[in-house]
């Protein structure tokens, strides 16, 4: 890359790349497991290839400011293409590689894409499927030539052609790229990411170099990331999280990104690389944990005993030791022993031995799950952010980890809570605009430059932000206190015995709840106690089960007391539904989200019973069985009062 460019400030990604190519040119920038070994690219090599790509694009008439769609698994060349596009002042637009053609159609049209860079034959076929409907589409470039021999269509090119073309072009116009990079500025858009809006069409979020660089830099300083980190890049490139961790932060700090060989081999590749910096959504951690437990099942009794006893030790003191809090000497010794026999090896087989910092985000993570990883000595933390904020709003500082908060506002970010409880953020990392949607942009960013996250939350006494709900779902109790149903429901659902919960309370005196028990967990519990039952309905009706659930709810209440304005949301009465909420009965969405209003109507009688203070209520409901037959479930439901805390007088 052009030397002269490096004299400019490091405020765009191309300039950062040039910088790394100079200061750590021979260090590894990217690895990809391919043909059995980890093929590596030095920063120098990356710079060279990016240059060739960029020149090739220029040769093909790629214009400053236009969008180039990128579709495929995490591959080095895909990341390089992003920078190449940025060099020419274009906007890379990564798409979800698993989207079907029709889903891509909207985005490709909306972004008026002329150039698409795809990974392989599979993606090319998708594009060809919708090609007629894409008037602007001019060029399809592919990375993996496998099976492409017979794609003779003139607008389909092997990326190698582009590279070759680029090298020639570069020889003829050696200073083109220098000037192009020079023309670019920090406030240019560096990437466009589409958000799958819960309502309406997806919106293209336009984020600037400045935004992503400051977000990346902030995070990197916050966690003292160095150029020696290794990260495994396996999450969709179209996801803001991957773009921040695998692209922006790598570019800022100069650490190495590692691309797995294939979807099947991620676990092995993870073990081999042993990343020092790791990012995954909660479900990944959850699956890992389940696997651990399942695999331990088959272990010899002795081993299991050892495992569980040491895990008990970890639960007791692991997290504290990690946070450097005082722990009894005995426990310290036990823990040391444990790390030899269990935690160490376990981390090794999970590929987490070398992790310094691990983050999770994107959804609420269960306290037990979270605690498990921390207790075996993995510094797992939560962060909070959206696509619109470069996934950068709040971070959990080392040593101040709370299971139910997302940490403190990150460096350079202002966070405030609107009086309707909505979280507002301001800072350099905000989006520039929604693509071609000034209306949406205006809606999202208020007069004094705050972005409205649409999430409701509150700060606890230590200044940690706690996300409680989607702002639009937040209501008020009759006494005006904030009422956040999803928050309560999540709290309930973290108990293994509770599968689903629906709470009511908006504009009401008190909060009441429907509960769905988890047949598996409660079933085991019942068997252990020798309680016979014939099925869900029967089990759900048992006094003992009510007792069990009641305990859980009271625990929730106890927690709520400590949570300021939410104290009023303590659950006063509950019942256990006689049937499981079911998508087939339209009670849940296909993604298993509760349809609150539908449920409210369907079970109006029960709600009345709850608030009328009755202690039993008969109900009969129609159900669809798997085979589509209609049927009826009838039951005479118990209703229980629950102990509430602190605030006297309102106990039912």
């Amino acid at each position: 890359m052009p030397e002269s460019a490096s004299t400019q400030a490091l405020d765009t990604f191309p300039r950062l790349l040039i910088h790394h190519a100079q200061v750590r040119g021979s260090r590894t920038a990217m690895r990809e497991k391919d043909l059995g070994i980890w093929q590596s690219w030095t920063w120098q090599a990356v710079a060279e290839e990016v240059r060739a790509l960029a020149c090739g694009l220029a040769e093909m008439g790629f214009q400053r400011g236009e969008n180039l769609a990128i579709v495929g698994d995490n591959r080095p060349r895909m990341y390089m293409m992003m920078t190449a596009v940025q060099c020419l002042g274009g906007v890379p637009l990564p798409l979800y590689q698993d989207a079907v053609a029709s889903e891509m159609l909207f985005v490709l049209l909306d972004a008026e894409v002329r150039f698409v860079f795809v990974e392989d034959q599979e993606q090319v076929d998708k594009i060809l499927e919708i090609q007629e409907q894409l008037p602007c589409l001019e060029h399809v470039l592919y990375d993996d030539p496998r099976g492409m021999r017979h794609y003779t269509l003139p607008f389909i090119h092997d990326i190698r052609e582009l590279l070759a073309m680029g090298r020639i072009h570069d020889r003829n116009h050696p200073d083109l790229l220098v000037s192009e990079v020079a023309r670019g500025g920090p406030d240019d858009v560096s990437v466009m990411l589409y958000t799958s809006g819960t309502t309406g069409k997806p919106k293209g979020v336009r984020l600037t170099h400045h935004a992503f660089i400051s977000a990346a830099r902030g995070g990197a300083e916050f966690d003292r990331l160095t150029a020696d980190e290794d990260i495994l890049s396996y999450l969709p490139m179209a996801w803001v999280g991957d773009h921040l961790f695998s692209f922006a932060q790598a570019m800022v700090t100069g650490f190495t990104i590692n691309c797995p060989e294939s979807a099947e081999t991620v676990m092995t590749d993870l073990r081999e690389i042993g990343p020092t910096y790791y990012f995954a959504p909660p479900r990944v951690f959850e699956n890992l944990l389940t696997q651990v437990m399942i695999r331990m099942e088959d272990a010899s009794l002795l081993k299991q005993k050892m495992f569980h006893s040491f895990m008990a030790v970890a639960r007791r003191s692991g997290a504290e030791i990690l946070d450097g809090q005082p722990v009894s000497l005995a426990d310290r010794l036990l823990y040391a022993l444990g790390s030899v026999f269990v935690y160490g090896p376990l981390k090794n087989v999970l590929g987490m031995s070398r992790i310094r910092v691990a983050y999770t985000a994107g959804a609420a993570i269960g306290p037990d799950l979270f605690r498990f990883y921390r207790s075996i000595g993995i510094n797992l933390k939560q962060l909070y952010g959206q696509t619109e904020t470069c996934a950068y709003v709040c971070l959990q500082p080392d040593g101040e980890i709370k299971f139910d908060s997302v940490g403190k506002p990150a460096p350079g970010v202002e966070v405030k809570i609107a009086d309707n409880g909505e979280i507002l953020v301001r800072g350099p990392m905000l989006l520039k605009e929604y693509y071609k949607r000034p209306d949406a942009t205006a809606e999202a960013i208020n007069a004094d430059g705050y972005f409205m996250t649409g999430d409701a939350g509150l700060f606890d006494d230590d200044g940690h932000l706690k996300i409680i709900d989607r702002a639009k779902d937040v209501g008020k109790l009759a006494n005006g206190a904030m009422y956040a149903p999803n928050y309560l429901e999540n709290k309930l659902k973290f108990f293994q015995y509770i599968k689903e919960a629906v709470v009511f309370g908006d504009r009401r005196q008190m909060v009441c709840a429907f509960i769905n028990i988890d047949v598996g967990a409660v079933g085991n519990w019942a068997e252990r106690r020798g309680i016979a039952y014939s099925g869900y309905t029967d089990l759900a009706g048992k006094e003992e089960v009510y007792g069990l659930i009641q305990e859980s709810i009271e625990q929730v209440n106890a927690e709520l007391v400590g949570e300021g304005t939410l104290a009023d949301s303590q659950i006063h009465r509950f019942l256990i539904l006689h049937k499981e909420l079911d998508p087939d009965d339209d009670e849940l969405t296909r993604t298993r989200k509760v349809r609150r209003n539908f449920v409210a109507e369907k079970y109006a009688v029960l709600i009345d019973a709850l608030y009328a203070g009755r202690s039993r209520q008969f109900i009969e409901t129609a159900v669809k069985f798997e085979d589509g037959r209609q049927g009826k479930v009838a039951a005479d439901l118990l209703i229980r009062d629950v102990k509430t805390f602190g605030l006297a007088g309102r106990d039912a």
Binding site: L35, G36, R146, S262, E264, T265, T268
Partner: protein, 260 residues
């Protein structure tokens, strides 16, 4: 399709084979053209496998000639065949159970090894360089057959379908010009069969490899092969493009006869 069928490269003339009086093949003649996919079909015991075994010299026919690229072999032997660029897979997989996938494929590179025993014993310059170079080649095959995840698994532990794939892999590692496939899809489920078909076509298409295959599954054969030979009780009863063969009454009866 970009590939075009070329000249005859393998020509069998009046081949007869018998085991201690039992006639396995009687006076069979057919040819194989370059780049084509040539199928040999026939009911059980029709002598299909024997045919392949004659082609690459595992069995020695009592009469008949094998003419390979104009060179005449009255009795081929496996080593000669291999050197002449013929490789094959086996009906009842004949992998090297004691080795993992990589090593099995590496054996396929054997003919291309130049270094000698001493050099290998000392893991010395040429030997070492060769090992690495051939490993790279083998990895390409692994990639081609999409068996990365079992690279280092001992073949004994693999499920049947994958073993078949490795068997093919070993044959491919030889970079053959003629590939003999002995019931490549026997005992596979539908989707395994589809994969295998894809691989066979890809091989033929990308490397221009000539393919002679034996297969039970008529549907598959008719789909992928350019020309078909039909054997029955060691005699040739049909030869030609799939459609002709399908129409051939003798063939039909043979199959009906075989299928009760």
């Amino acid at each position: 399709m970009s590939r075009q069928i070329g000249e005859v490269i393998l020509d069998l003339k009046n081949v007869s084979l018998s085991f201690g009086g039992v006639k396995a093949l009687t006076d069979i003649s057919f040819d194989v053209r370059e780049h084509e996919i040539r199928a040999i079909i026939g009911p059980n015991g029709a002598g299909k496998s024997s045919m392949l075994n004659v082609i690459n010299g595992v069995y020695r026919p009592q009469q008949g000639d094998i003419i390979l690229r104009g060179r005449r072999f009255s009795r081929m032997n496996p080593y000669e065949a291999a050197k002449a660029g013929i490789s094959r897979t086996f009906q009842n997989i004949a992998l090297f159970k004691g080795m993992n996938v990589i090593d099995n494929l590496m054996t396929g590179r054997n003919l291309k090894i130049r270094s000698n025993l001493i050099q290998q014993a000392f893991w010395w310059g040429p030997a070492r360089r060769e090992e690495l170079a051939h490993r790279a080649k083998v990895e390409e095959v692994i990639d081609f057959l999409e068996i990365q995840h079992i690279r280092k698994t001992p073949v004994g532990r693999l499920p049947y379908g994958l073993q078949k794939r490795v068997d093919l892999g070993r044959a491919l590692a030889m970079e053959p010009s003629i590939l003999l496939l002995d019931e490549p899809m026997a005992g596979m489920n539908v989707e395994e069969k589809q994969d295998m078909c894809r691989f066979i076509l890809d091989v033929n298409d990308q490397f221009g490899t000539t393919i002679v295959l034996i297969e039970h599954d008529m549907a598959v054969v008719m789909d992928i092969s350019d020309r078909v030979v039909v054997l029955d009780y060691g005699k040739k009863i049909g030869d030609g493009a799939p459609d002709e063969v399908r129409a051939n009454p003798e063939v039909i009866t043979a199959y009906l006869g075989a299928s009760h």
